[in-house]
Structure formats: C-alpha cells, structure tokens
C-alpha cells in the first residue's frame, strides 16, 4: 500500500515557491517523493535494470536538489522528467561509449492553442476538421484512435479486438494522434498564409 501524501494541500508549485523563499530543503523532501514511483518507472524504461534504475532515481533526486538551488524552475513535472531522461541517456552513453542526442521537449499544440491562434475557427469547425483528418489516417491508426478515444476502450480490449500487439496499439494511437495534430496545424498555417 502506497503511503498517502500528508502534504497533499500543497501543490508542486507552492512547494517550489516555498523552497525558493526560505531555501529549506524540507520542501523538496515533500515534493520529490511524489515522483519516486514515476521516476523509478522512467529510469527502468531506459536502463532496463532494476538496481540501476533505483540508483538512477537516487542520483536524479540529488541532481534535482543541487540544480533547483541554482535556478528557478516553473514546471516541475516536465523539468524532473527531462532531468531523469537525460540522466538515463547519459548513463547509456557512458555504457555504450557512443554519443547520444539530448532530448528536448517537443511542444505539441493543444485544443486551446489551436483555437486561440485562430479565433475564426469555432469548436464545431475544429470538430469537423478533426473528423475529416481522421478519415485521412491509415486504417490501423484510425481504428485504434476510434476505439480508444471515441469508444473509450482500454488498451487490452483494443488488443483483443484488433489482434495487434500492445506495443502496436500504443504506437498507432500515438502516431495517429500526432498525425491528426500535424494535419490540423498544416491546415491552420495554410489559412494564415492566405490571409
């Protein structure tokens, strides 16, 4: 049974602000444990070794304590994820003796941004564009996207229904989602150019 967070009333942002105000590491002692399980999973995904993953989480914690002291971080979750990922890649690179590219956050536009950037587009219009874009996806992606987002099926159910592997289902959903966004962004860029 996981221990519940005794300081749940504090958001991550509040804890960070408190830390920046008085410099007491105790605030980080409340914030960082919230991410132990997630970080353990992230490190395990990249390192594929239980002991190394545990060590890695410990190192990420220490790195976070040192780095947060040096500069201000606004979005803790995204930041700690990048720290963990880059730390894992560094470890892999050290092991393999090969160069690896640092991962940068890829920003994908959200519904609000797609609407904000173009006030002429109503939600209904966006919806009709989405349905249209959905038709342009390949069959696998379209099928998985419909089952997942419209029929609200779990990954396992989609696996059973379609016969794809779990990895394929996840990848069809991810790629389908990305392609839909790209199609909508392109359409929007095209309109902005014509204006």
């Amino acid at each position: 049974m996981m221990r519940s967070d005794k300081h749940a009333e504090f958001s991550d942002q509040q804890l960070l602000e408190n830390y920046y105000q008085d410099g007491k590491a105790e605030w980080l002692g409340i914030l960082l444990p919230r991410y132990t399980l997630l970080l353990l999973g992230v490190c395990m995904k990249y390192l594929r070794n239980e002991e190394e993953a545990k060590d890695c989480v410990q190192q990420v914690f220490l790195k976070a304590i040192t780095e947060l002291n040096k500069y201000k971080v606004d979005y803790f979750k995204a930041w700690i994820y990048m720290v963990a990922k880059n730390h894992c890649l560094m470890k892999i690179r050290d092991k393999q003796g090969r160069q690896s590219v640092e991962i940068k956050d890829h920003h994908v536009q959200t519904t609000d941004e797609l609407l904000d950037g173009n006030p002429h587009i109503e939600k209904d219009e966006l919806l009709s564009r989405m349905s249209n874009a959905l038709e342009h996806l390949n069959d696998e992606q379209k099928q998985c996207i419909i089952l997942f987002y419209l029929e609200k099926r779990s990954y396992q159910e989609i696996v059973e229904r379609t016969g794809y592997t779990l990895m394929q289902v996840k990848s069809h959903i991810q790629n389908g989602k990305r392609n839909l966004k790209i199609m909508l962004e392109k359409k929007r860029e095209g309109e902005n150019k014509n204006r």
């Binding site: 221990r3 992230v42 914690f61 220490l62 966006l126 919806l127 989405m130 959905l134 987002y149």
Partner: protein, 121 residues
C-alpha cells in the same frame, strides 16, 4: 463525436501513486483502466513510467523500492538540514570568539592605562 477533441488535449493531470499501482496490478475496472491509459496517451512521462514499471519482475517489490528511495532521500535532506544548522552555529561561534578577543583586548588596554596612571607611592 465531441470526444474527438480530447485527442488534442495534452493533459497535465496527475494520477495518484496508489491508482497507478492498482493499474499495474490489474485491480482497476475497464473504465478506470481507460482513464489511466488516456492520461498515458496524453502524458509522455506517465507512459514511460508505466512501461518501465511493467518491466519489474516482481511488482510487489515496487512498494518496498519506493519506500527505500524515499527513506534515503529523507536521510539526505535531514543531514543537509543538520549541516546547515551546524554551519549556522559555527558562524555564531566565530562571532562569540571575535567578541571575546575584543573584550579581552579592551580589558588589557584599560588595565594598562589604570596601572600607568596610578601615582607611585
């Protein structure tokens, strides 16, 4: 059909660790599973974390690992706090030594003038 727009959302919603553990051990209903998976599809960190956690041979050990890591972190932070305190006391200690030296020097100076100004009998 309006659920289509959910595809565009990049959720930053958090999931509590207990729910994640229940998901990993297959204790959730289909509806709850879908909710967790929707967060995974929206949030790369969550997705990576679940994929990584599923690779642990013994899921039951996860609790113990998390506990161990949190204890190590707490110990480190406690030590840091003590070091900070010791540093503070160290600074205070230095100030008192400095004040004591000044007081002793002043007393010596006063004694010198007193002795010098006492007329010989």
């Amino acid at each position: 059909m309006s659920d289509l727009l959910n595809i565009l959302s990049n959720s930053n919603k958090d999931i509590d660790n207990q729910k994640l553990m229940d998901y990993l051990s297959g204790k959730l209903s289909e509806k709850e599973r879908h909710e967790v998976e929707k967060l995974m599809a929206d949030n790369q960190m969550m997705n990576d974390a679940v994929e990584g956690l599923q690779q642990f041979k013994d899921q039951k050990k996860l609790d113990a690992y998390v506990d161990q890591l949190q204890k190590q972190l707490n110990t480190y932070i406690q030590k840091k706090k003590e070091r900070r305190k010791a540093k503070w006391f160290g600074t205070q200690y230095d100030v008192w030594i400095f004040i004591s030296i000044i007081v002793v020097l002043l007393l010596m100076l006063i004694a010198y003038f007193v002795i010098r100004n006492v007329p010989p009998k």
